[in-house]
């Protein structure tokens, strides 16, 4: 095997968290104002391993193991940013945001505006969301919550390539960015991904707010993000066997929301399905649907459907969880219903 092929093979064997840790390390190396705060991120390297090796390399003052005091260290991040640093604050599970949302939405997100643009807030809130069977308090996505509150960019990548590039972009951004990983993806290795498992070695950034068409199709446009992209690709594959061609779009971020890319696709297919692992009501699926309708006009689409977590706490039992969290089967079923009109 050539050296290049061997390296690519190593990449495919790499767990996603190692790629994220690599992205952070590359940025910390090029910018010594970056530092990380959070629970278990130092000595343990993060509960999912996304900060593995960082404390050894950059020391305990730049990779800070905090006590379980989210309000304290989230606000500490705000103060660090005001003092000219670029903090990455890890909230272990996004569900824990309830204990420190104050510093996220009232401070970090609003201070740039409240200061008339005079106070920058270069800050990343890195957190893990998504369902892996841990029930109501450890399974939410909540990107819709952050997106509803003005002043934060909200990113949720779906593959190793994007995790690395979007993390670098988040750390270089002068705006607060909420970076939401999906726990199910964090348990995977590069080769487990259907899309873009390839990761360049050096540092690179991806623009915040650009969706990607990850599978081309002509009958239905399916827009989603995070782990649901993987589910959508599996469902699209299945539907292809049944003669239905599904275009899958990875939104990559909720703020900014790239409705233009979705509208361009839906304008062609005439059918839009928004899949969202976050709650249904007052969330991404309605917002994106309306923004697409705004662009295409009320007569621009034949069908608009939403498949999202219904407004219910996520249940513990697998049978119940499968009934409410959009997985490949639920997505394929909904696509099949929509395709009846094709």
């Amino acid at each position: 095997m050539s050296a290049v092929a061997e390296r690519a093979n190593d990449r495919l064997a790499m767990p996603l968290p190692a790629t994220i840790a690599e992205a952070i390390a590359l940025e910390m190396e090029r910018d010594d104002t970056i530092l990380c705060l959070g629970e278990d991120i130092g000595r343990a390297g993060g509960v999912f391993g996304t900060t593995t090796g960082l404390q050894e390399r950059f020391g305990s003052a730049r990779v800070v193991d905090t006590p379980i005091a989210e309000m304290g260290f989230a606000g500490m991040g705000v103060g660090l940013a005001q003092a000219g640093m670029r903090p990455l604050v890890e909230i272990m599970f996004v569900d824990f945001i309830g204990v420190c949302l104050e510093q996220v939405y009232n401070a970090a997100a609003k201070i740039p505006y409240m200061s008339g643009g005079r106070q920058r807030m270069p800050m990343v809130f890195k957190t893990a969301g998504g369902c892996i069977g841990s029930a109501a308090q450890h399974s939410q996505c909540l990107w819709g919550l952050f997106a509803h509150l003005p002043g934060m960019k909200v990113v949720a990548p779906c593959n190793p390539h994007d995790h690395k590039g979007l993390m670098a972009a988040a750390l270089r951004s002068d705006d607060p960015v909420v970076f939401i990983e999906h726990k199910a993806l964090l348990l995977r290795k590069g080769r487990d991904f259907r899309h873009h498992p390839d990761v360049p070695d050096g540092a690179y950034t991806l623009p915040l707010g650009e969706a990607a068409v990850v599978r081309e199709g002509s009958d239905v446009t399916l827009a989603t993000l995070s782990a649901s992209v993987e589910h959508a690709l599996a469902a699209a594959e299945e539907l292809a066997g049944e003669g239905v061609s599904v275009e899958v779009i990875d939104l990559r971020s909720v703020v900014p929301l790239d409705a233009d890319t979705v509208a361009a696709s839906a304008g062609r297919t005439g059918r839009l399905l928004v899949v969202d692992e976050d709650y249904l009501s007052f969330g991404l699926s309605a917002e994106l649907s309306l923004r697409v309708i705004d662009r295409l006009g009320l007569s621009g689409l034949r069908q608009v459907e939403r498949l999202a977590l219904p407004d219910v706490p996520i249940p513990a039992a697998l049978s119940l969880e499968k009934a409410v969290v959009p997985g490949p089967e639920l997505i394929a079923d909904r696509l099949r219903q929509m395709a009846k009109g094709v």
Binding site: L35, A61, R62, V64, T66, P67, A69, E70, M71, G72, F73, A74, G75, M76, G77, V78, G79, L80, A81, Q82, A83, G84, M85, P87, V99, E102, Q103, N106, A107, K110, I111, P112, Y113, M114, S115, G116, G117, R118, Q119, R120, P150, G151, K153, S173, D174, D175
Partner: protein
């Protein structure tokens, strides 16, 4: 004993702060402020006392009642008053208003959320330590804020890491209506310092000399690597929690008693006299500061309000550049 020059300077600072908030009350009467206003009248000795030992590189993170702390930190009073009066030329272009002044040039900021200032001060303290700077982060809160979780969390971290942070608690004994004695598990806030391996200091916040001395001691302690300090300054709020507060929680007589007995400017008159500064000179200082603020207010009220077309600007950096 305080020498004449120091006494004069301290009295002038208090006079300037009082005149500033009186100008804010006038601005409110003239409808130049359309929202909530929290003035610090009665608490001038704390702002004036802290000013002396704050250095430009230090940071202050203040509260909803922040004007005196901003002036103490060196925030330009014209820009601050213009911000309070919602003008485009204000410190924050009229986007922040009186509860949310941000001045990166002087490391001054505030929050309208009670207790939320202390974690932010912790961040400054960590940055100073990391960069090897001899600066101190001051987080200001009140007796109400001292009961919040964030206050506790930030002090846990500051104490464990021995960070250069001073927590200034302005204890006016009223969290809007709730009395400190009714809700505090301890007689003072400063005695809680022991729980965080911090130094706890208690001072009469109506005595500018005592505040100056105690705050200087706190800053020296934090600056020289001694770790965090809680400075509790007891004081009295002369007016309601906000302008318009019906103050159903205290009688008119009680309010008058507080004003008669705990006015830091009036209390300082005997120190001025002892230092050789006469009544006439003190009156002249008050009149000068009052007239300077009157002129400044007139100037500010001539300034334009922000253009409605800019209401969406400054959420993100690209909008700030636009």
């Amino acid at each position: 004993m305080t020498d004449a020059a120091t006494a004069r300077a301290r009295f002038r600072r208090m006079a300037a702060m009082r005149a500033f908030d009186e100008a804010c009350l006038e601005a409110l009467r003239r409808k130049a402020i359309h929202g909530e206003l929290h003035v610090g009248l009665g608490q001038e000795a704390i702002g004036a006392g802290m000013a002396e030992s704050l250095r430009p590189e230090d940071a202050v993170v203040s509260t909803h009642r922040n004007h005196f702390h901003g002036l103490a930190k060196g925030v330009d009073r014209r820009a601050l008053l213009a911000e309070i009066c919602e003008r485009e030329a204000g410190l924050c272009r009229g986007r922040g208003g009186h509860m949310h002044p941000f001045d990166p040039a002087t490391n001054f900021s505030a929050t309208g959320i009670v207790g939320a200032s202390i974690p932010v001060a912790l961040g400054y303290a960590h940055a100073f330590r990391l960069r090897g700077e001899a600066a101190v982060a001051v987080g200001v809160t009140g007796d109400g804020g001292s009961h919040t979780g964030g206050f506790h969390e930030a002090l846990v971290m500051a104490g464990a890491a021995n960070l250069p942070m001073v927590v200034l608690v302005e204890n006016n004994a009223l969290a809007i209506s709730v009395q400190f004695d009714d809700v505090s598990p301890t007689e003072t806030v400063s005695e809680r310092a022991a729980a965080y391996s911090a130094l706890g200091l208690h001072v009469d916040g109506t005595d500018v000399d005592a505040v100056a001395e105690t705050f200087a001691r706190a800053m020296d302690h934090a600056r020289s690597g001694g770790g965090p300090v809680i400075v509790e300054a007891t004081c009295h709020r002369f007016r309601g929690h906000f302008e318009g507060d019906p103050e159903g929680y205290r009688s008119k007589e009680e309010r008058q008693r507080v004003r008669d007995n705990f006015d830091p400017l009036r209390l300082y008159r005997h120190r001025l006299a002892a230092a050789g500064v006469g009544e006439a000179e003190a009156d002249a200082i008050l009149a000068e500061e009052k007239s300077a603020m009157k002129a400044l207010l007139a100037e500010v009220l001539e300034m334009p309000l922000p253009d409605p077309a800019g209401a969406m600007l400054y959420r993100f950096v690209e909008e700030a550049r636009a």
